[in-house]
Structure formats: structure tokens, C-alpha cells
């Protein structure tokens, strides 16, 4: 088209004959002819370059897009992985938090406490010294495991300082065992309570484990810092009339609860089945040198009523214990309780022990009367002694080899056909205003002084005095009736409810000419004329 046009334009110019114009035209045409191919060629080159550039650009774009896509996928994958990790972490954290909150809560809600007492005592008895005694330290733990479910534990260290056992197995021309037990006098570690309780309702709670026997009011409220006198009562501890000494736990299970009776009244009960008290053996070893005589090595086996075992019971029958109390209004209560169970081990005939207790408390403002009566009947004491003699064959066996005399003795101890007794406390709480600004009063919100008078009596009916048997026959079986009285007067200062500083005077007396040690488990008297005791006690009881 371009050439055609050029040709047509040249023809026209020739026809018109205008030389100069023609020349110009020719020059223009020639110039155009010279330039046009170059222009066309340049245009074609630019286009190709442009195409290449575009292609390169496209390729770059494609690459970029691919890269970006890859990166995006990588990112998404990383995000997915991070999310999974986070979820995992969150779940773990949640689980950890939940478990931490459960255990944390359990630990936080579990409370460790303690109570205990020590005292300084003087006595008129020759064999007792003026002494400090660390009576006991009881560690307490209570924990609400879950709603309606709780656990309780009391571990007692009585007069406990240390216990050390050393053992060595050796071989030297044979095999030998060397053992040494080192402990402190009268020391005892005892599990006083360890139970779990399920609160089904106020009137029905299920409790199982090592339970305090609900006989009377002292055993179930035995914490030292609750009482205002530094020594426990005779019927609960010092004799005792209870089948076993307080605090008296038994392994068992049962129910307890309380319910309203009228507008201000309340009835509470405890009812348990448990292993129960049994005649159990206590072994006493004596090694004694004697001036002008042989050296004595004696073993005394005493069968005496003891709290039931926490292992296999040694008797087939179980014991029942129940206490019912009625409180007509706040501050007053009257209770009746029973204990019944076999006390003989299976190798002796089955005989039951039965206890009945009555207890109560009456309050008139600052004045209180609180007391407890217990009657315990050990059935068939002689029926038990005869088969015991048959089984044990000889009550006493002795032999002398060279300068050493060996003696083995079996006896029944602490048994009477029946024992009964009571304690009654008269208390008066007061706080003289003038003490409020002294050291005794100014740091405490509600300090108290408590004056107490306690009267106690115990009657022993047919208490075993002497028993001997030989070749399976009873050769001696003596019993006696005894009486034990005690009067205690005390003054207690309580800066706070859980701490008591006590001062008390005691007068204890049994039948004239009889030993106090044969009717108590805490008074040592080798002389029969020591049938009474004067004692002054200063005590500290605490709880936290």
C-alpha cells in the first residue's frame, strides 16, 4: 500500500511538470524510501523486544505467583501446625490447670493442726518424783476430699522422745543376729483416729475407719485443751472403768447424725460395729541382779483388756457401740451410751463385756455442771480364768542354771466382775475486770479464768487380786472389792480458747491399807500404807 501510494504520487508530479516541486517531492519520496524501511524495521524490532520483555515479565510474574503460592501454602501449613500446637498446648494447660486446681484445692483445704499437753507434778508417794511430763502431742489432719466426703486423722505421740532400732546379721563360725531397741520410758505412738465420712444427710452420715468409741462424753471429746484440769478422769483413763483407756479408738464402721426435736431441741446419735476390746497379751521382760542371790531373767505375760486390733481380729464376734444424746437447748445435753461385745480371744470361751454410760452437761450462765457415769460388766471372769489355766498350764515356771534364774509368768490382769464410777465437774467461769489491763488480759479479746471442782469415785466388784495355776488347774483365785476416790480442785487461765494454763490439787484415796497402784495405772506405790496421795499439778494444754 505504501509503495502504491508513492508510485501514484510520483506520476502526478511528472504530469504537472513543476520541476522544483517535483524535485522536492522526489527528495521527500527518496528520503521516505530510504527512511521508511528503517522505520519499519525499527518498529518490528521494538515489537519483538516488547514481546520478549512481556514474555519475560509474564514468566517473572508466573514465577512470582508460583513462589507466592508456595510461600502461601508454606505459611498456611505453618499456621496449621502452630494452631495444632496451640490447641494441644491449650488442652494441656487446661488439663494441668484443672488437675492443679483439684490438687491445689485439696492441699489448700487440708488442714494440719495439733493439740497436746505437758505438766509438772508433785506427789506424796515415795516412788513418784516431782517431774515434768510431756503428756502427749497429737497431730490432726482433716480434709474435705469432695463435697460430702471428708477424712480425719489423729496421730498421738505420748510421752514420746525417741525410738531407735538397730539390727545386724553377722556370721562368725555360725550365723547371728544382733538387735538393739532404744526407746524412751512410757513412750507410745498411737493412731487415735483415721476415718472417712460420707455425709448423706444431716441425720445420716456414714463413717468408717479407726473410730472413737462413743461410750460416755469424754472419749469422744478427749482433746486435752478442751478440759480445764491437767489430768484425765479415773473412769476414762486412770483406772479405767471403760473397757479400754481413753482415747479409745476401734476399727469399724457405722452411722451418725443429728436431727431437730422441737423448736430448740436436738437429738444426735452414733452407732458403730467394730472389732472391739479383747484380752490381749502384754510381754514384760525383766533382767535383774540381786545381792546375795542369783541373777534373774523373767518374762511376764499379762492378758489384759486392750483396744481391738487393727489387723486380724483374735475373736470372731464384733462389738456394738452406740450413743444417743438429747439437747433440749443450747448448752445442755444428756446422753446414754452402750457398748457390748465379746472380749475373749477364740482360744477361750466366748464371754461378753457390757458397758452402760450416762452423761450430761447443764449450764447456768457462767456456771456449769458436767459429768459421766460408767458401769462395765465383764461376764464370766472365773469361766475365763479356768480355761486360761488349762491352756497356759502353769502360771509360773522357773529354772536355775548356774547363777541365772529364769522365770516365765502368765497372768490375767485388770479384770473385775464389774467396775462402776463417775466424775462430775463443777465449773465457774469469770474474769475480774482489774485483770483486763494486766499482762493476763490486755492482749486478748476474751480471756477466762475457770475454777473447777471435780469429784470422782470408782467401785471395783470382785477385782482379781491373786491368781495362780499349776498343771492346768487353778490353785489360787482371790478377788476383792475396792473403792477409789479422788477430789480435784483447779484454777485454769485461758488467754484464748485453745490454750489453758492449769493449776490443780488432787487428793486420791483407796481402801485403808491397800495399795493405790493395784487400782490405778498411773500411781506407783510399793507400800501398802500408801493408800492415799496428795498431788499438785501445773499443766499447759494447747491446740492450734
Amino acid at each position: 500500500m505504501v509503495l502504491k501510494k508513492i508510485f501514484w504520487t510520483t506520476s502526478i508530479t511528472t504530469v504537472r511538470g513543476k520541476k522544483e516541486k517535483q524535485m522536492k517531492t522526489i527528495i521527500v519520496i527518496l528520503a521516505s524510501l530510504l527512511i521508511l524501511p528503517a522505520v519499519c524495521s525499527a518498529q518490528e524490532g521494538d515489537l519483538a523486544a516488547e514481546v520478549r520483555e512481556l514474555r519475560a515479565k509474564l514468566e517473572r510474574l508466573e514465577k512470582k505467583m508460583t513462589d507466592e503460592e508456595a510461600q502461601k501454602m508454606k505459611r498456611a501449613e505453618a499456621e496449621r501446625a502452630a494452631l495444632t500446637e496451640q490447641v494441644k498446648k491449650d488442652v494441656m494447660t487446661d488439663v494441668a490447670a484443672k488437675s492443679q486446681s483439684y490438687f491445689g484445692k485439696l492441699v489448700e483445704q487440708t488442714k494440719v493442726g495439733a493439740y497436746g499437753s505437758m505438766r509438772y507434778g508433785t506427789s506424796s508417794l515415795d516412788d513418784l518424783h516431782n517431774t515434768f511430763t510431756f503428756r502427749r502431742l497429737v497431730l490432726t489432719v482433716d480434709s474435705p476430699i469432695a463435697e460430702r466426703l471428708k477424712a480425719n486423722l489423729e496421730l498421738e505421740f505420748e510421752r514420746f522422745t525417741e525410738l531407735e532400732v538397730e539390727k545386724r546379721l553377722f556370721s562368725s563360725r555360725g550365723v547371728g543376729l544382733q538387735q538393739a531397741v532404744e526407746g524412751t520410758n512410757h513412750s507410745e505412738i498411737s493412731l487415735e483416729q483415721a476415718w472417712m465420712q460420707y455425709d448423706i444427710a444431716d441425720w445420716l452420715k456414714f463413717r468408717a475407719g479407726a473410730l472413737l468409741v462413743p461410750l460416755g462424753r469424754f472419749n469422744i471429746n478427749h482433746d486435752d485443751n478442751r478440759w480445764d484440769l491437767p489430768r484425765r478422769s479415773l473412769i476414762d483413763r486412770g483406772v479405767p472403768v471403760l473397757p479400754s483407756t481413753a482415747a479409745w479408738p476401734e476399727l469399724g464402721a457405722g452411722f451418725l447424725g443429728d436431727f431437730s426435736a422441737g423448736t430448740t431441741g436436738k437429738v444426735s446419735y452414733q452407732w458403730y460395729v467394730m472389732n472391739g476390746v479383747a484380752l490381749d497379751a502384754e510381754l514384760e521382760q525383766i533382767s535383774q541382779t540381786r545381792a546375795g542371790d542369783t541373777t534373774k531373767f523373767a518374762q511376764e505375760v499379762e492378758l489384759r483388756p486392750s483396744r481391738g486390733t487393727f489387723a486380724d481380729d483374735i475373736k470372731s464376734g464384733k462389738a456394738l457401740a452406740t450413743r444417743w444424746a438429747y439437747s433440749p437447748w443450747l448448752g445442755d445435753e444428756i446422753g446414754v451410751s452402750l457398748y457390748w461385745g465379746r472380749y475373749t480371744p477364740d482360744f477361750l470361751p466366748s464371754r461378753p463385756v457390757f458397758s452402760l454410760a450416762l452423761d450430761g452437761k447443764k449450764t447456768w450462765g457462767p456456771f456449769e455442771i458436767e459429768g459421766q457415769y460408767v458401769h462395765t460388766r465383764w461376764s464370766g471372769v472365773k469361766d475365763v480364768a479356768l480355761p486360761f489355766a488349762r491352756k497356759a498350764i502353769n502360771s509360773e515356771t522357773e529354772a536355775e542354771i548356774g547363777d541365772v534364774e529364769t522365770e516365765v509368768e502368765f497372768e490375767l490382769a485388770n479384770l473385775a466382775t464389774s467396775k462402776q464410777g463417775y466424775w462430775v465437774d463443777f465449773r465457774y467461769r469469770f474474769w475480774p475486770e482489774f485483770l483486763g489491763n494486766t499482762l493476763l488480759g490486755k492482749h486478748f479479746a476474751n480471756p477466762q479464768l475457770i475454777a473447777t471442782l471435780r469429784l470422782e469415785q470408782v467401785w471395783f466388784n470382785q477385782l482379781i487380786k491373786e491368781m495362780a495355776f499349776s498343771s492346768t488347774s487353778l490353785t489360787q483365785f482371790e478377788k476383792e472389792n475396792r473403792l477409789l476416790n479422788r477430789v480435784t480442785m483447779g484454777l485454769t487461765y485461758r488467754p484464748v480458747p485453745l490454750v489453758a494454763l492449769q493449776l490443780a490439787y488432787e487428793y486420791t484415796r483407796t481402801n485403808r491399807g491397800k495399795s493405790l497402784s493395784s487400782v490405778t495405772n498411773f500411781l506407783t506405790s510399793s507400800k501398802d500404807r500408801e493408800y492415799f496421795q496428795h498431788a499438785v499439778l501445773m499443766g499447759l494444754a494447747f491446740g492450734f
Partner: protein, 196 residues
């Protein structure tokens, strides 16, 4: 007695347990939650038909004012805030109530104290008891002793309050808490900015 008796006894327990589990009227003894926040004011003002709830933030000034009014009685616990209520019947104000906490032996006891316009305790009710022993402080026969008590009263066992044996720490805690509630309501409602 022999082992057969024991088996029979176990059977009796199981029957008792089954019967009790079938009962719908369960209530907790000793520790437990007895009242929720929203139920509490009704327990001390049963005749009220509406309650205005107000949370009072505690600060040093309020603490100082409360302590001043409590006198020698020292609280065992300062709360961060107090839930209080104005109890009304129609447009008439019947009184005020405050939820307070005090430590018993080891754990806090939560309870509500209702105070009448005469600045005397109208009633008190236990909301949460956490101690293992001494749950008898929840009993009506114990709490009704606080009715009519005011800030000037000692609110102490063996003084003007009948003690519960074995729960003296909890009894003292209820007394301290009641005094704290009386002082708080005095500061906030009777003398303070919320005066009605």
C-alpha cells in the same frame, strides 16, 4: 454374739443407706454451702419483697472506720469488697444486710447479718461453713442469740453468747463477723453516702 449378727447388721446398714439415698430431702452437716448470695438476704429478711444489692469496695478509709466502731474486737479477715443489701417491703426499708467472712479455727466462715433500722441485729444466717467441726453454729437455736445485739455488746462466748463446746473458735468468729457487719452497715448506710 457371733459373726452372723455382724452380717445381719451389715444388711441393716445397706437398707438404711438405700433408703437414705432414695430420700430427696438431703441437707449437709458440718461443712457445706447452705445459702447462695441471692438467697441470703431472704434468710434474714423473709418478709421483704425486694432487695437492692450493692457491692461496697473496701479501702483503707472504710477499714479504719469499721475498726474504730468495732473497738477492741479485731477482725481476722479484711474482705476486698462487701455484698450488701437494702431490704424493702413496698417502698418501706426494713433494714440492711451484709455478707461477711471470719476465720473460725482454720478456715473462713461466710455468713449474712441483717440489721434493722434500729441498728440492732435482726437475724443472721450461715452461708458457707468450711471447718471439720463446730457446724452447730449453723443451728437456728445458736444464731437466734444474736437477735437484738448491737455494736456496743461484747458478742463473746461466756459473756453474752452461749458457747458451743468444742466450737469456741467458730463461736468467736461469728461474734467478730457480726460486729464487722454492724460497723460496716453503720458506715455505709446509717452514716455514709448510701444513707436512705
Amino acid at each position: 454374739m457371733d459373726s452372723k449378727i455382724s452380717l445381719r447388721q451389715i444388711g441393716i446398714w445397706l437398707v438404711c443407706l438405700a433408703l437414705s439415698l432414695g430420700s430427696s430431702q438431703f441437707a449437709l452437716g458440718q461443712e457445706g454451702v447452705f445459702l447462695k448470695d441471692e438467697e441470703a438476704p431472704k434468710a434474714v429478711f423473709p418478709e421483704a419483697d425486694s432487695f437492692e444489692r450493692k457491692v461496697v469496695r473496701s479501702n483503707e478509709e472504710i477499714k479504719a472506720k469499721i475498726q474504730q466502731r468495732m473497738g477492741k474486737t479485731k477482725t481476722s479477715l479484711w474482705e476486698d469488697s462487701y455484698v450488701t443489701f437494702v431490704a424493702k417491703k413496698g417502698e418501706t426499708i426494713l433494714g440492711y444486710a451484709a455478707i461477711v467472712e471470719e476465720i473460725g479455727k482454720h478456715r473462713p466462715i461466710t455468713f449474712i447479718v441483717g440489721v434493722g433500722p434500729d441498728r440492732k441485729i435482726k437475724d443472721a444466717a450461715l452461708m458457707v461453713y468450711r471447718e471439720a467441726y463446730g457446724g452447730e453454729v449453723r443451728d437456728r437455736r445458736f444464731l437466734q442469740q444474736y437477735k437484738g445485739k448491737q455494736l456496743k455488746d461484747p458478742l463473746l462466748p461466756y459473756r453474752d453468747i452461749q458457747n458451743i463446746s468444742g466450737a469456741t473458735m467458730s463461736v468467736e468468729a461469728i461474734g467478730r463477723g457480726s460486729k464487722k457487719a454492724l460497723a460496716l452497715l453503720e458506715v455505709v448506710y446509717f452514716e455514709g453516702t448510701e444513707r436512705k
